[in-house]
């Protein structure tokens, strides 16, 4: 900067100063002729001022006053409504979530927007890409909320997020055969459950057969090629045979613990023979549920259907559960707003002089260094504006939390709490107003920052 200053001749500065003071006198004369008198200006401004007064100033002042009164508005309570915001578990959760939102959401959106903006500079179908990323901005928040409620549905058959997780999970780890199946509860049973596995109650030895009845088999997990359960085949020497089947006759009835007509065998179940805790033989059931364990050493063994047959299938993440709900909603916010950030940052990017980047490249900077040391510093003002605008926006995030959270207190934020307290059942406009004033005070510095910035640019 210094050389530039030195380069400017003192005369020019003096001239500039003169330009300000010099023509001032004649200009004042001109103003008298060309601009209306101040009372007339005021008259013209009056409608706007009145409107602003009614719609902006009066509500703010009234909210501030209301926030010092109790629910019915009858008695003055001082700052109780304000301290109330920070009391009680649910209120503190709302405050915590608001902090998380303000810290995480704008940063994330700006980073993603920057990423998209830089990338679109280099791809061929940039406009189409930008259009797609920007499109969510055209959808109302309420509709976005509804969309993401569906995305985060728990059931993988309905929620895209969990469907994707389950698909990824299942490519690496195949699903179990009969989740949820197990022995019948109560009574004298041939099998019993132990640590997720199903064990035969009576020990068997080579040459014997075993019946292993199971219930609680969901129809959707029963293979189509399953055949009616058969009696175990005769066991030869050194063999243990048996049947694993769904011991439930449709419509009730049927003798328990016997493979009756109409009961299906359970194919594909792994059967192990144990002795002293060690697996001595293994088999898998056939289509009619029968199995044959070969080369069983003499002596008693216990039959086990290992846990892997029954563990519940992977159902995806609990997106709208206690811990993930706020991150999940922030994700939907990202989907909506990253286009906005991208467009503004792309505009700033277009204004960056190419020669600065080129100069850096000529000097041997890598692309990352160009990005990190040249692009970002030149973009900084735009990035700050985007960030601050988003902070303002995030402080009053309501629609997405209202729709996706559906009232879950773990998703609560101050703006939603304000509504709940005053209208959504709380019936306490006093504490609602207190939250509103608090939010207003929090937004104020960001607003002032943006306005100052705008003024500076105008100068």
């Amino acid at each position: 900067m210094k050389p530039t200053h030195e380069g400017v001749p003192p005369a020019a500065t003096a001239g500039g100063a003169a330009a300000v003071t010099g023509p001032a006198a004649p200009r004042r004369g001109a103003r008298e002729r060309l601009t209306p008198p101040s009372w007339l200006a005021l008259l013209f401004l009056l409608p706007a001022l009145l409107l602003l007064g009614f719609l902006v100033v009066y509500p703010i002042v009234y909210s501030v006053i209301r926030s010092f009164f109790d629910a019915s508005g009858g008695s003055f309570v001082g700052f109780d409504n304000y301290t109330g915001v920070f009391q009680g578990h649910d209120d503190l959760v709302a405050v915590r979530n608001t902090v998380v939102w303000v810290v995480v959401a704008p940063t994330l959106v700006t980073i993603v927007g920057l990423f998209f903006a830089v990338l679109t500079e280099r791809i061929r179908w940039a406009t189409a890409f930008k259009l797609v990323v920007f499109m969510p901005m055209a959808i109302s928040f309420l509709a976005s909320g509804v969309i993401f409620r569906l995305v985060y549905q728990q059931d993988p058959d309905q929620g895209v997020a969990n469907a994707a997780l389950v698909a990824i999970h299942d490519t690496f780890k195949s699903g179990t055969t009969y989740p949820g199946a197990g022995p019948r509860t109560g009574g004298d049973q041939l099998v019993h459950e132990q640590g997720g596995a199903v064990l035969g109650s009576a020990p068997v030895s080579a040459g014997q057969t075993a019946l292993l009845p199971l219930v609680k088999v969901k129809p959707e997990y029963l293979p189509k090629d399953a055949k009616p359960a058969a009696q175990p085949p005769a066991a030869k020497a050194g063999q243990v045979t048996g049947t694993v089947w769904f011991d439930f006759t449709k419509g009730g009835g049927g003798e328990q613990n016997k493979p009756n007509a109409g009961e299906a065998g359970l194919p594909g179940i792994k059967v192990e023979a144990l002795r002293g805790g060690k697996v001595v033989a293994k088999a898998t059931t056939g289509k009619d549920g029968t199995f044959t364990l070969k080369k069983v050493p003499s002596g008693a063994v216990t039959l086990r259907l290992p846990k892997g047959n029954f563990t519940a299938s992977y159902g995806g993440a609990e997106w709208l559960g206690t811990t993930l709900i706020t991150p999940a909603i922030i994700g939907s916010y990202l989907w909506v707003w990253s286009g906005f950030a991208m467009v503004l940052i792309a505009a700033g990017l277009a204004a960056i002089p190419r020669d600065a980047l080129e100069a850096a490249r000529v000097d041997g900077a890598t692309e990352w260094q160009v990005f990190r040391r040249v692009t970002i510093p030149l973009l900084a003002p735009v990035l700050v504006v985007v960030l601050v605008t988003l902070v303002i926006n995030v402080l009053k995030v309501f629609d997405l939390v209202f729709i996706i959270g559906g009232g879950d207190p773990n998703a609560n934020v101050l703006a939603l709490e304000m509504w709940t307290k005053s209208f959504g059942g709380g019936n306490d406009p006093g504490s609602g107003s207190a939250i509103a004033v608090l939010l207003f005070l929090l937004v104020l510095p960001a607003m002032l920052f943006n306005i100052r910035r705008l003024r500076q640019e105008r100068k």
Partner: protein, 448 residues
Amino acid sequence: MRVSRGVTSRRAVGAAVAAGLLLSAAAACGGGDDDKGGGSKTSAGGTELKGVTVSVAAKWTGTEETNFRKVLQAFEKQTGATVQYASTGENTDAYLGPKLAAHNPPDVAILPQPGLMQQYAAKGQLKPLEPDVVSEVSQNFSPYWKDLGSYQGKTYGVIAKAAYKSIIWYRPQAFSDAGVQQPPAAWADLVKDAGTLQDSGTTPFTLAAGPQDSWTLTDWFENVYLSQAGPDNYDKLAKHEIKWTDPTVAKALQTLAEIWGKPQFLNGGVATATKTKFDESITQVFGQNKAAMAYGGDFAAANIATTKAKVGTDAKVFAFPKAGDTAPAVIGGDVAVAMKDGKGAQALMKFLASPEAGKVWAGLGGYLTPNKAVSPDAYSDPIAKQLIQQMQQAGDSARYDMSDLAPAAFGATPGAGEWEALRQFVSKPTDVKGTQATLEAAAAKAFK
């Protein structure tokens, strides 16, 4: 070069700031509510109220709204008045509160809870019914229902529509597949049959424990509590004269845990149950055959109608099993109140109290009324006929939905009070003590 460069980038920043401010301003304005007011056309018929416009607000949407509009059309035909209907959305107080504060409420509003009626009446925001309307009410309704619509001796409300909440909907096919011949009559049988259903491979229940629909949980609780602790304790708990830390409450919660506490009994386990909305819980049973039973009042028939299942054959109801000595009969209902003076408002109130309105509505389905002058024959569907008889049998031991009698902050707010406490209990069914403490803390605050 340098100067011009500075200018362009600054301009870009300026534009960015301006766009940002504009957008945030636009977003700020975006939240305005749009009135869904839809006028109905006047038709030929009576003319005594010709030219009079009556505005009505109720929370009904969808099928319920269509049916109510037909009832209103009957009123228009009878009187010649024009009726404008607006839906308040789920939260009636949130809709009416600001309108009342601005002294611009609808002529007639239909409130989902008598608690809300009491609240408005106490503030003097309701117009008492005129003598001829009161006599119409006395003629058609039993004293219990008239009292529900009264505040400090004055009658303000007409029970426009009742909901019978002591039933469980089930899929007969699932029951017969599992060999359950008779729907259970006692709680122990319900638990046993649930086990049998589970053995047969069918999940016994769907539970609508999503934050926005946790009212179903309060209904479960009320049925069990009314059954075990009896009507007198029920009344006391409803008025918070006994505390939620009472042993009777603990017993009811422990009883509920016999079903809520078994994740295998609930479709998708606890993770799904605590996110499930009421309509989803019904379609999961009757649309997707994912479970055998779902809790829902008679109004669930409207949800079942959206699936392929037919009410009466594929979807049936049984009375909520007795968990104690009393057969529970928990009833909800919407109270119509007049919020403005005027001939039109009172005429509509009188119409709603009359058997004519009840008959039209009963013929459309999804409707029950404690109006004695509407005979069971007027109901179009067999289930409603069954329920209206059950309701009339319950007689004096029938009780109004407890959570709807409580202040809204405790009994009717998603994510707070009783709703959320019971929802948390579904996640932690062993924590009876903690749940009771949470309930009592919330109740103490709301009943102040």
